[in-house]
């Protein structure tokens, strides 16, 4: 359940600070680049307001705004989210505990105010796509470096930033992506753009970070887009009010807080 773990942390989409002194671009190979992406340190606390927009192929949209809080407790990461809009789901809340121990499943709760009940939900790997979006839990998290074979296939300037282009081929032939191609910003080790190829080797999705910012030395995504080029569906994630300097209290991440709402 590691993938779900990471998904909710990275829902804040946090990027660690990569020190320039470590950089010796010429000598890095594909695997080392992806390791640097993977190993970026993350801030222990984060709050933000997320606007998630789903756009289907007919151009219809579903927009949700969510207030979310994340805290890293070392062996467990806890995330709590409150829906602000649409009005009919206001105060619906969702909590997720992910354990560092990969053998331990996530704990998930949802509170439905109209039902006045908290329910536990168990999601298996079936829940590939997160909340009807184009992101799978894997896309939101960082997939383990050793799951793929990485190869540096080029360098390119993208959106005015110098990037490595790394091709990562899945070792598990039955994995939903046969390969991904990632544009990693040289200076910050951010995955600026990523292409996903399906089992048949056809291009499936393109992820693009449109905007990111420097928060106390942490590089954090502000606007991100994922387009499924096959079924013409897309998702954009827009983070506002990002705050990493708070110290979130431990009792925020409890069933009682779920029910209390925002």
């Amino acid at each position: 359940m590691k993938k779900i773990t990471t998904s909710f942390i990275t829902f804040g989409l946090i990027f660690g600070l990569a020190s320039n002194s470590e950089l010796s671009a010429q000598t890095l190979d594909g695997k080392q680049i992806i390791e640097k992406v993977y190993n970026r340190p993350t801030p222990p606390n984060q709050t933000s307001t997320l606007t998630m927009t789903l756009i289907n192929k007919s151009g219809e949209t579903r927009v949700r705004t969510i207030k979310q809080n994340t805290k890293d407790f070392g062996d467990v990461e806890k995330n709590i989210m409150f829906f602000i809009t649409p009005a009919d789901v206001k105060n619906t809340s969702f909590m997720n505990w992910t354990y560092t121990d990969a053998t331990k499943s996530d704990d998930q709760w949802i509170y439905l105010p109209a039902l006045k009940k908290t329910k536990r939900i168990s999601s298996e790997s079936k829940s590939d796509y997160f909340m009807g979006s184009d992101f799978t839990y894997d896309d939101l998290g960082d997939r383990k470096v050793e799951d793929d074979t990485h190869k540096l296939i080029g360098k390119e300037t993208l959106d005015g930033k110098e990037c490595y282009i790394v091709e990562s081929v899945s070792k598990d032939k039955s994995y939903m992506y046969s390969k991904t191609v990632t544009w990693v910003v040289k200076d910050h080790f951010i995955e600026l753009k990523k292409e996903f190829y399906d089992e048949e080797g056809e291009k499936l999705k393109v992820q693009h970070i449109k905007k990111y910012g420097d928060f106390d030395g942490f590089y954090i995504k502000i606007l991100e887009e994922m387009v499924n080029v096959q079924d013409k569906h897309s998702t954009s994630l827009f983070f506002e009010n990002i705050n990493i300097s708070v110290n979130l209290p431990e009792d925020l991440f409890t069933e009682r807080m779920l029910m209390r709402g925002i």
């Binding site: 789901v89 619906t92 109209a114 039902l115 536990r120 939900i121 999601s123 298996e124 590939d128």
Partner: protein
């Protein structure tokens, strides 16, 4: 006209050379470019509002036709072998290029929404195939308690389970069809049978079977016609020459079709039989006249004989070809392109047969010499007697006609329209039996999509009031229409969620009573299930909703009765600002048949009018025009009446026949009246003119009738029911127009005294 034709007689070899050269050109075109159209969507008029809406709805809700694989194990499906087959076949289908992975649904891919003591669980029914008895029993219990799959993917008898694989548009081909059948067969074992059914299979089989069957029929039709023609012409050489003319005109027709790049549609496969059967009449009349002339003038040269033949027969041959082609060309009024093209090319083929008969046959005679005929046989006595008897007993014809008309009007009351594809197959064919088998175990193999539309008003379909009305409509449908097996909509999801979130208690198997709860359930489902399932149920802003109604039959009566129940809810939906539309292939088939029939009524009326007007002008007399129309009017009526009595529904094929029958059936009247008019000049009474006409043309008209009746009757030996119906009805039509011409029309002409009024006046 005749002069031009007679001029051509001087250069027979040139005429023959040109004919053969053109035939070669058309033949090469046909060989190179002919293409059979098997995609039934191409048959539909895409710009028609119902089709435009359906296409949009199919896009919104990802509505596609599914191929259904049924896995049967008579000992029950809850064993490792059957479940493993289910899993393997599901995975095999997901890998096919023509099928999207996510469009394959089975117990292996389905979401199981379960209520647990403290929450909700959405998971697969199984991922690893259960091995122990305990695991198998658990699975059985899980399925039984989930009404979203029980009775839908697993039969209540627990001996059959389904895999539904939805197809992209236009991917169906003979190869794919064979592949599908081979895949299904490869999973057969001693215990397990795999059946394949579903609309794409039915449509695909139909698109391949109908033309294949027609192809088999052509040589038989040819043989029968050669036999009948030989009886009429008594010369094998003449018989083969007449056949050659119709074969050449068929080649020209298909060559032209290939040349302008029009594909061969299923309906166009009727063309060869149509052209061959109608086309031989021209040669038959020409040779019959020639034979009579040579008998009367044994010393005539070939130029004299052929010139006389052309002088006497070219006008009636041209008129009959024009009226026949009007019958075909009236199909141009149809909104359906394959029907339009069929009419156009059949019209072209008929005119080609006529022109070739008038230039090719004379050219051959000029090049190779006159046929020899045995001395005349005296048969005119018989013709005289029959004619006198018909006219003497005119009340038999008149009363008979009135009785038939009354009876047939009663018959037409029973006539019904059927757009079913399945009803076109033999009742004991594999495809029908499999369909029956699956319908006996599940909701139904035919899907009708009901699209509810709030015209852009957001969140309409989150309102409990609206959802409850939908739920009520679904129950009414399932209760009132026996052929409705199940229906599926957002309401089913919500009832399931509501029940599950209340510890699986049955009293919560209802629509939640406030909108917030609906919205929160849906959000919960999106977070824990496969939200793509909702795409088929409702659009993004909850302003449009899709109800899938499963029917156990695809015939029009069934679809219409379901539509009627839905329409009875229309006022209630209207009060809530919701309009009703339909979509999907079952509905499109229904609209399509209506379109064909609509067009048919117009083309029939148009055809009869044009023929009557044309003949009024040709014979310079409107009364003659009207009288000539009597046999064909009766013919059309009898055709529909008999179909009513015999429970043969109107469908795309049978509906086409009425105007075709008018176009061919009028020929008997044309030949009769043409001769009658010329004999009227030299006769003293209408009876005498009629007797002379019968003596001269009676035999050729009768043989013409025998040719068309037997030619089409051959189709009764077809293995394809619609071709049999076609053969039966058109033969019947030919028979009734023939009988009508020689009875009621003869009586009416005699009664009307048209060509003798002036003579009578002079006498008095």
């Amino acid at each position: 006209m005749e002069k031009g034709l007679i001029k051509l007689l001087k250069t027979p070899w040139l005429v023959l050379g040109i004919c053969f050269a053109l035939t070669l050109v058309f033949f090469l075109q046909m060989k190179e470019k002919s293409r059979l159209e098997t995609d039934l969507d191409k048959y539909m008029p895409q710009e028609h509002p119902a089709f435009v809406y359906s296409a949009m709805a199919e896009e919104w809700f990802n509505i596609k036709d599914g191929i259904i694989f049924a896995i049967e194990n008579e000992n029950g499906i809850y064993n490792t072998e059957t479940l493993d087959t289910l899993k393997q076949l599901t995975k095999r289908l997901q890998k096919l290029q023509q099928i999207n992975k996510s469009d394959v649904n089975s117990l292996y891919t389905a979401d199981n929404i379960v209520g647990t003591e403290d929450g909700l669980d959405v998971k697969a029914f199984f991922t690893k195939v259960p091995k122990t008895q305990e695991e198998l029993d658990n699975l059985q219990q899980t399925v039984r308690s989930n009404e979203m799959v029980y009775g839908r993917l697993v039969s209540e008898s627990e001996t059959v389970t389904l895999i539904v694989a939805e197809l992209e548009d236009g991917v169906f081909s003979q190869e794919f069809y064979d592949e599908i059948l081979a895949i299904a067969a490869s999973y057969h074992t001693e215990n397990i049978k795999v059946y394949v059914v579903g609309r794409p299979i039915v449509e695909g089989t139909l698109a391949l079977l109908a033309p294949a069957d027609m192809k088999k029929m052509i040589p038989i039709v040819l043989l029968v016609l050669i036999f009948v023609l030989f009886l009429a012409l008594r010369k094998i050489k003449n018989t083969l020459l007449v056949m050659l003319v119709v074969l050449i005109s068929t080649i020209w027709t298909f060559g032209l079709m290939a040349l302008i790049g029009i594909p061969i549609y299923a309906v166009s496969t009727m063309l060869p039989v149509m052209l061959i059967v109608t086309g031989v009449a021209y040669g038959l009349y020409l040779y019959s006249h020639l034979e009579g002339y040579i008998r009367d003038n044994p010393a005539a040269t070939k130029l004299e004989a052929v010139s006389n033949m052309l002088k006497a027969m070219s006008i009636p041959v041209i008129i009959t070809a024009v009226t026949t082609s009007i019958g075909f060309l009236s199909l141009l009024t149809s909104q359906v392109y394959p029907v339009k093209y069929f009419g156009l090319f059949a019209g072209f083929g008929v005119l080609t047969s006529m022109i070739l008969s008038l230039i090719f046959i004379p050219a051959v005679i000029m090049a190779f010499g006159l046929p020899k005929f045995k001395p005349a046989q005296e048969k005119s006595q018989l013709a005289y007697k029959i004619t006198a008897s018909i006219i003497k007993n005119k009340y038999v014809s008149i009363i008979g006609t009135v009785v038939v008309i009354v009876l047939m009007i009663l018959g037409t009351q029973k006539l019904w329209i059927n757009s079913s594809f399945l009803d076109k197959f033999e009742k004991d064919s594999d495809i029908v039996l499999t369909d029956k088998f699956i319908n006996a175990h599940f909701g139904g193999t035919t899907a009708l999509n009901l699209i509810l539309d709030s015209d852009g008003k957001l969140n309409t379909f989150k309102q409990p009031e609206v959802l409850r009305l939908i739920d009520k409509m679904q129950s009414t449908l399932e209760a009132d229409v026996p052929e409705v097996g199940t229906s599926f909509a957002l309401s089913n999801f919500l009832k399931r969620m509501n029940k599950v979130m209340h510890e699986d208690r049955d009293e919560f198997d209802v629509i939640p009573d406030n909108q917030n709860l609906v919205a929160q359930y849906l959000l919960l489902y999106e977070m824990s299930g496969d939200p793509k399932n909702l795409v088929k149920a409702v659009n993004y802003d909850y302003s449009r909703l899709n109800v899938t109604i499963q029917l156990k039959s695809d015939n029009s009566k069934t679809i219409n009765s379901a539509i009627a129940v839905v329409q009875s809810f229309a006022p209630d939906f209207k009060k809530l600002g919701i309009s009703i539309n339909f979509a999907g292939s079952g509905y499109k088939g229904l609209v399509f048949s209506d379109l064909i029939l609509d067009g048919q009524i117009w083309s029939l009326i148009l055809c009869i009018l044009i023929v009557i007007i044309l003949l009024s002008f040709m014979f310079k007399n409107i009364i003659i025009g009207l009288i000539s129309g009597v046999p064909i009017l009766i013919t059309a009526l009898i055709g529909f009446g008999v179909m009513g009595f015999l429970n043969i529904p109107l469908n795309a094929t049978t509906a086409l026949l009425s105007s075709i029958a008018v176009g061919i059936g009028i020929n008997f009247a044309v030949h009769f009246i043409y001769q009658y008019r010329s004999y009227a000049i030299t006769s003293n009474s209408s009876l005498e003119a009629a007797q002379k006409t019968m003596a001269h043309s009676g035999r050729s008209i009768s043989f013409n009738a025998i040719v068309v009746i037997l030619g089409f009757l051959v189709l009764l030996f077809s293995v394809f029911p619609p071709n049999r119906e076609l053969g039966f009805i058109i033969s019947l039509n030919m028979f009734t127009s023939f009988v009508g011409t020689l009875t009621i029309m003869l009586v009416l002409i005699n009664k009307s005294n048209v060509y003798f009024q002036n003579k009578d006046k002079k006498l008095s």
